[in-house]
Amino acid sequence: MIQTLAFYLFAALVIASAVMVIMARNPVHSVLWLILAFFNAAGLMVLVGAEFIAALLLIVYVGAVAVLFLFVVMMLDIDFAELRAGFVKNFPLGIAIALVLAAELIFGIGAYQAGQLELGVASGVAAPALDASNTASIGAVLYRDYVFLFEAAGIILLVAMVGAIVLTHRRTENARGQQDISRQVRRNPDEATVMKQPEVGRGVDL
């Protein structure tokens, strides 16, 4: 009973906040609605027993991706009039894409219902220790049977890292306030100070 109630609560909130993401005028509000959507999606994940995925949704999407979105949105100086003009211009294209996606969804579900496809049949070597928590089960499969995909994910992350630097990093030469800690530590009184005994009226050469 509670599970059903919780499902409808989360599902309704996901849909409502997803609609608000599109409808909100202020992009910052959109991102905040998106966070609410992620949060409720995590709730749905818990309901189907995928607690690790739920935690990942919160840690990665809410904790990192949405922060990035928020930064980007705050950084942009957005001209709303221009955005709306784009909305009218791109509206037919958007409708077309939505129709294609809907058609694909219908085909996909139809084909799956017809029983012609067998999706995600495990090789059988996986599926270790069923009593383990699902975090451990994911690990046991991912790092033994899908090592190649896992390493490929690593390469993708590397590409993303390099891409981010190439796109956003401006290298400034001899920047102000750059601290060289080893130089600071190496410095000793003998090098840093000199004793001078100037004669009266002569001054000091520095």
Partner: protein, 348 residues
């Protein structure tokens, strides 16, 4: 507690519901009380280290100071700046405080006293504490004022920078414990050191991790020496500058609740949690919660101690410490610790 309510003649469902509500109140209300007291302790410790008296007027030894402050802000006028985005401006303190409270749902206070004993307790805490960025960013952005906005940006960048190394440090602990369940992590520490000491922290590979974790906790909660978001000379009062009344106080309460959470995590993950420090039978007669609170209090004392003695970092130094020191070291330790555990046959 469910059994107790069942013994009153209630059905299981009602008993469970009542027990849960009671448990939530038993966590939330003492937490708020201890936040109030801990602010007093904080001020007393700084005062003692600075050879001052600290709060000593309200109540015996000034014990009621925090409550007087609380009453004062409660009766103040709530000012919402005309330039602010009202909705988000009001929402920000609510988010901050809700998040600060929510993390406590999975903290085990003793072997049985835990509200939600979930498999991924540690991940839950990590996830919830990563949400605390939003309270800060929302308040800074919604204030629509220069200093809060700068402060919020600084705070957000700082919190996410240190969260990276906290994640890797937690992996090191989890490698030893083999689980994310906080209670099981505590149990795994029983007799860990030489068969007598109940703590992960004394292991030569984990001690440096604990030191880094402690420093990252200071940065994550924006305490001295990492309190750049509240650098008065640069940013007035930080992201709460435009706030007043209880909304302002909620940021403080949330901050101290987070500090207490970090202290209790130090105790749970590295220093044996609710286990006595030494695995010796008579010590087990003392209830687990007493040990846990003693350890937590000790770590809180360390937070205050640091606050009273250390000068503030500069922002580039803070970023350097997070990204160039803690991140590579904690990454290296993940490899070293897992290799060590594999080689010594820890995984059977």
């Amino acid at each position: 507690m469910t059994e107790f309510f069942q013994s009153l003649g209630l059905t299981y469902e009602w008993a469970w519901g009542l027990a849960t509500i009671a448990g939530i109140l038993l966590i939330a209300l003492p937490l708020m009380l201890s936040v109030a007291m801990v602010i007093y302790v904080d001020r007393k410790v700084w005062a003692a280290i600075n050879l001052r008296r600290g709060p000593n007027v309200v109540g015996p030894f000034g014990l009621l100071q925090s409550f007087a402050d609380g009453l004062k802000v409660f009766l103040q006028e709530t000012i919402i700046p005309s330039a602010a985005n009202k909705g988000i401006f009001i929402l920000a303190p609510i988010v901050t405080f809700t998040v600060a409270l929510a993390a406590w749902a999975v903290v085990p206070f003793s072997a049985t006293a835990v509200l939600a004993d979930i498999n991924i307790g540690l991940l839950y805490i990590l996830a919830i504490s990563s949400l605390s960025v939003y309270g800060v960013v929302m308040s800074g952005w919604a204030s629509n004022s220069k200093y809060p906005f700068f402060s919020a940006m600084r705070a957000a960048a700082q919190m996410i920078s240190y969260e990276v190394s906290i994640g890797f440090i937690l992996v090191c602990v989890v490698l030893f414990a083999g689980t994310f369940n906080l209670n099981d992590i505590v149990r795994a520490q029983e007799g860990f050191g030489l068969g007598v000491i109940n703590a992960y922290g004394i292991h030569p590979l984990l001690f440096p991790m604990w030191v880094m974790f402690f420093i990252s906790c200071l940065a994550e909660t924006q305490r001295v020496p990492f309190d750049l978001t509240e650098a008065e000379s640069e940013l007035v009062a930080g992201y709460q500058t435009e706030y007043s009344s209880m909304s302002f106080a909620l940021f403080w309460l949330g901050e101290y609740a987070n500090i207490l959470l970090m202290c209790i995590l130090n105790a749970l993950l590295f220093w044996g949690g609710w286990l006595p420090p030494i695995d010796w039978a008579p010590l087990y007669y003392v209830p687990g919660i007493v040990w846990l609170l003693l350890k937590t209090f000790f770590f809180f004392f360390m937070f205050s101690w640091v606050m009273a003695t250390v000068p503030r970092y500069r922002y580039d130094q803070l970023m350097r410490l997070g990204w160039k020191v803690f991140l590579p070291i904690s990454l290296g330790f993940v490899v070293v610790i897992s290799g060590y555990l594999m080689a010594t046959g820890h995984f059977g």
